[in-house]
Symmetry: C2
Subunit: 137 residues, 2 copies
């Protein structure tokens, strides 16, 4: 598998607007996109820091994955996403090494990326996402 960079870091927040203000005013970052991902029951906000995006995630439904995460663990870092060169191959390779996949096949995530999650039980507690941006090819 070839990881090129950390694509984004997903952070669960209760109030997207308040968190956007914090990242803009304290760190001088600029929120360049807000997008709702209905399938995941989240509203997302993006910032660039060097090569990597900060993806803030507010739940639109207490029963969605981010709603449940915040109820259980509170606000904080939710997942870590690596950019890979060939997602289908990367998933096959990962599974062949005994890692449990949440998504056996790529699906569409925010910003039109192809994404898939690995299960934190197999990844030392880190909810890990693999992403491929086929839009730039």
């Amino acid at each position: 598998m070839e990881l090129t960079h950390i694509e984004h870091i997903g952070i669960a927040v209760k109030n997207l607007d308040a968190a956007i203000s914090y990242y803009e005013s304290v760190f001088g970052l600029r929120c360049y996109a807000v997008e709702e991902v209905k399938e995941q029951k989240v509203k997302t906000a993006f910032f660039m820091v060097g090569q990597t995006k900060i993806e803030l995630l507010e739940s639109t439904d207490a029963e969605g994955p981010i709603g449940k995460f915040i109820e259980k663990k509170g606000e904080g870092i939710h997942h870590l996403a690596f950019a890979v060169k060939n997602l289908e191959n990367a998933l096959e390779e990962t599974e062949s090494k005994g890692i449990q996949l949440i998504d056996k096949l790529p699906r569409k995530g925010a910003e039109g990326l192809d994404i898939a999650f690995l299960h934190p039980k197999s990844t030392f507690g880190v909810l890990t996402e693999l992403c491929e941006n086929k839009n730039n090819k």
Copy 2:
């Protein structure tokens, strides 16, 4: 404040050797350094992914910060570290904006960086570190 990139992502693990094997075998990363930071009661292992380091943290003492974190929350992402251009100024600016600091003045962290932590109560649940690498100047 000027953030240049995400300097590293700190991940708390129970067994450093097992976690190093996982990042090497599954993601093809190479652990380029292992370092004990006695003051923080941790042993650390580093990998580069693009601009950003993965810093694995194994506690050397159950009463240390990583030992307590794992007892409370389990293994997983522990903190997020931004590289800044002038750490002293960044801390002053952060505090002036009402953010609670854990370290009011820079101290030495792993790899000889100057570091300081912001309190997760002020940062939407994300234990946030600011780092400056004065060795490269």
